[in-house]
Symmetry: C2
Subunit: 358 residues, 2 copies
């Protein structure tokens, strides 16, 4: 029997609040059984209890902690930090800080979640300004983790190595990959390509003794190919790559819908092909891969998309449970200590690595 675990939920976050959060608990249990998993729900008690009744969930699964206070979706992070104390997201994170809960999930304001998590839990990866966000990206081979897709706009070599360490441990813990392969996102695969940070990170990954299966540089199209299990990049490039990809997927999806409704014949064809097309779109359904952990904190924090459905929120819960039950935190802790040691006594830099980019 799996070990008991308590997951803290911000029941008021996201576009739909308690209906999606409590619905997410039901959906998670329906799909994954959820043996030994209990939940701590923070927010409006009456609203949460009404949803629990609808979903047939009792006190044995969901404990409710009332608060009236909510951080709005458009509140600035600095404001949320000043005024957010006692809000549903604040209390949900605090339950992880005190050790009561093993992980927290919120579909609320990303900036506020980051800022309050950092304030309450503190960074465990010393070089990071902000938590790194990892995206689970559907590929020809399954799922590839891409990070940072968040807000570490300028990432130096040490930060890129931290992303590699955390991303690898994430893939092992959540996607069950035995020895995940790691690549650094670059504009070419030759050693001398790219800027200094990415070349220095490559050297540290090759020579630092992190016990990672580092495979070298990968390019943008390697993400969807699934060339490696973990694609590491700075938060600027990663954020732009992710949003560009979402834009392209939406564009093609819209063109396809338009095409398949453009004539009677096309509509008839679409009806016949419907089961096949539905099975296909399940493979790239954003709700199936919803849930981006904020890595680099002393505690597990998972961000759900604000517009996620109950099924989507259930996916985010799954990630929180799998991370919480795994040895992710210990494993990352050990590797980050190793990184600190390497940075204090760096391996000698061979001349070949100092060549200018081409």
């Amino acid at each position: 029997m799996p070990s008991p675990i308590l997951i803290s939920l911000d029941a008021m976050g996201g576009d739909h609040g308690p209906s999606v959060v409590v619905g997410g608990v039901r959906d998670y249990r329906a799909r994954h059984g959820g043996e030994g998993v209990r939940f701590l729900l923070h927010g409006d008690e009456a609203a949460i209890r009404a949803e629990m009744a609808k979903c047939g969930l009792g006190e044995d699964v969901c404990e409710v902690r009332h608060t009236d206070k909510v951080v709005a979706m458009d509140e600035k992070p600095a404001q949320a930090m000043r005024r957010g104390k006692g809000s549903s997201v604040w209390n949900a994170i605090e339950a992880v800080k005190t050790g009561e809960a093993a992980a927290v999930v919120s579909a609320g304001n990303t900036g506020a979640l980051m800022a309050i998590s950092k304030l309450l839990l503190r960074m465990s990866a010393p070089g990071l300004e902000r938590p790194a966000i990892v995206a689970s990206w559907p590929t020809f081979k399954g799922i590839t983790a891409v990070l940072d897709v968040g807000a570490n706009v300028e990432s130096d070599a040490a930060q890129l190595v931290e992303f590699a360490i955390m991303g690898e441990a994430f893939m092992a813990a959540v996607h069950g990959v035995d020895k995940p392969t790691v690549g650094l996102l670059n504009v070419g695969s030759e050693d001398m390509k790219g800027h200094e940070e990415v070349r220095e990170a490559a050297r540290l990954l090759r020579e630092g003794g992190f016990n990672l299966d580092y495979r070298g540089f990968v390019e943008g199209d390697d993400i969807a190919k699934g060339t490696v299990d973990v694609v590491v990049t700075d938060g600027f490039t990663g954020n732009i790559a992710l949003k560009t990809a979402e834009g392209v997927a939406k564009f093609i999806g819209t063109l396809m819908k338009e095409a398949l409704t453009s004539s009677l014949m096309a509509k008839a064809g679409a009806a016949l092909a419907y089961p096949a097309l539905k099975a296909m779109s399940a493979k790239i359904d954003p709700n199936a891969i919803n849930g981006g952990p904020l890595l680099g904190l002393n505690g597990i924090v998972v961000k759900s998309h604000g517009g996620a459905t109950a099924a989507g929120f259930g996916s985010a819960i799954r990630i929180a449970v799998d991370l919480g039950r795994s040895d992710y935190m210990t494993k990352v802790g050990t590797s980050l200590q190793r990184l600190t040691a390497v940075l204090e006594h760096p391996p000698a830099s061979p001349a070949a690595d100092m060549e200018t980019s081409q």
Copy 2:
């Protein structure tokens, strides 16, 4: 009647050599008339003449300049510069240098084309290490130009402004947009987002008096939305965004093909919807948007994809002709002078712009 123009072609470049290059001339003339447009083809005379005969093209349209020498697709740029003299790509570029031809098109080795173009033509934009490559990106609203998708790995604020100037002139000359709108690619739309280079570039574009319709920061998903006509970014991010998008498009296309051949019923549906699906895929056909100009040189150089079809090479020729006949070079020249003046006497930097990124 349009003014007469001579276009220089590297007939040996690309995966298919003269068949696609000469076929491209035929295709260009079939689609665009090509009145007043003549071609100078560099490469193996016998092979070129054989293709000309097949395509029904005579001396009045195509002049052949024989050379045996070819730069291989996998030759390193430095090697191509040392040993490339007299090759088809070298001679094709030289015809632009001497003023004989108005523009050159090659489907050959990108690195070699860049290096030899830079050597023979020299950069006109003083801050650039290498020519910037612009991609014509299909969007909900038509075409958006994205640059640099090439090799200027670290682009400072002045370079980003150069990309904006050149991209805007390109959209006006080639895609017939009257007053193209310009955006800077970033991780958010607020003023304080992103790294220093992109924030400083925003300030220069707002205050530098370049007569550009600058619309501020855009995000990755704004590319496919067509939010602006020109998206400006450094060569690292741009290259990764483009290749990531290509990977995603290919992934979705493959899933769709698999779905539509997965069962008899799906196949029947696909057959009925075939005309609609074909019309749709024409909208994102890479050959229809083939041709990436190398901007920032004293001369017009257009890179065709190495694997392009004759129709694709014809699209690249179209871009070369439109750029060659437009006031692109003069317009960019004037704006780059303005940039030099602004950099020598920069507008005062308001405190708001100096805030750290968020």
